[in-house]
Symmetry: none
Subunit: 220 residues, 2 copies
DNA sequence: CGTTCAATAAGGCAATTGCCCTATTTTTAA
DNA sequence: TTAAAAATAGGGCAATTGCCTTATTGAACG
């Protein structure tokens, strides 16, 4: 097996050395560099090209999410695992959006981290189960939002005639009665009459309300 | 440690027995029941209340996703791990929506499955890294869709002042100048003046157009 | 074969709106 | 601290709108 090169990024010197020592016992791994914040990591990447970067999230100067975004922007293929104590939903989501390929909690055992790195090299997305659970929540929530948005009524349910729907569309596009009349080859008077009927059926009292009703129900 | 009770659901008798035998060597686990499809699983659940259900996806009569939906509907706390050879994106998403708590590939080692079950009992969402990677893709894609939908301009980009934005909101809610004036404790004249300024900045010429501009850019 | 309803057309009138103008005070920014 | 911008207020007027009224024609439906 080829040796996998690693970049470590953490602002806490103690933790940084801890991780470094824990991982260096594995002969499958080689620590390319250690960086103390996102900015530093970007600098180190000018020199080193590690296979995988283990990145802390909360750091001064440039945090792990910002750094991930930058690195991914420059090299979309760079593999990055977020390695952090944080399990805040928004941070997880931010990290994913930024392009993190995995998300591990810092209290994972070194052997688990090694395994995760190997899984990552195989195209997987290693993830602590707690993180995965939060990700599922995020996915389901996003889906739920989409579902609730779609509860529409049809124009027919208000007994709008074809002509009235037609007129309502013109109204919604911002035309005046005169303009609508010109387009439909009828008199402005008739257009206004139709509008009155529309108002009665929709229980509204102005063009604005009619349009809002139409938009709410996605008629337009 | 307490013994964790398991329900197995798979239409392939050979695989069903395989999994059963593989898992029964662990004294931490106890196989409560084996079912050969979703319908059968629902029946078995009338009698047994396993801590965790390992569920295949593709099955005749009632597939794993449909069964998961049903089971979750009856008992939202039931833990279900999808255990399948499938790694099709849509199926993964469907399973998640249906309420699966974890998603493992069938070629995982029995020890890994045991570990996953324990992680699930701890509130995590065990997931094969390949599945997790696809989930990340789904999440990013959904977010990307939202982003592309959201190519909006801010009210500030039109140099709308705070007051003007406030007025625009009232206009959008269908209020007349008099009504807006009453709510903001200013004169109707001032309200109309603000509106004129808004029109000039937005390059529109009516309440309707202003509202459409506001809606297009999701200010309201 | 009527009856109902959609579509058409029109008169009238009060209220609202859009747009032109000026002007003072307050807030913000340079 | 000075200049610019925002917020306030108002006059005037033509166009538009909302709502009341009546009326004719053709299509649909039992």
């Amino acid at each position: 097996m080829n040796i996998i090169s690693i970049g470590l990024v953490d602002d806490n010197p103690v933790l940084l050395n801890n991780i470094s020592e824990n991982l260096s016992v594995f002969e499958e791994l080689h620590i390319d560099f250690k960086a103390i914040n996102g900015r530093d990591a970007l600098d180190k990447l000018m020199v080193y090209q590690p296979d995988v970067i283990l990145m802390d999230i909360e750091m001064p100067v440039m945090d792990g999410i910002e750094a991930t975004r930058e690195i991914k922007h420059k090299n979309p293929l760079q593999k990055i695992i977020m390695l952090t104590v944080l399990d805040r939903d928004d941070k997880i989501f931010e990290a994913i959006k930024a392009g993190a390929s995995g998300y591990l909690l810092k209290d994972e055992k070194p052997s688990k981290i090694l395994k995760s790195i190997e899984e990552l090299m195989d195209g997987g997305a290693p993830m602590s189960p707690i993180i995965a659970a939060k990700m599922l929540d995020i996915l389901r929530k996003q889906d739920a939002i989409k579902e609730t948005e779609a509860q529409y009524l049809s124009p027919q349910s208000f007994n709008l005639s074809k002509r009235e729907i037609e007129i309502l569309e013109k109204i919604a596009s911002g035309l005046s009665y005169t303009q609508i009349a010109d387009r439909l080859f009828i008199s402005a008077r008739t257009t206004r009459k139709h509008t009155e009927n529309i108002y009665r059926k929709l229980h509204v009292h102005s063009k604005l309300e009619a349009i809002q009703m139409a938009q709410k129900n996605k008629w337009i």
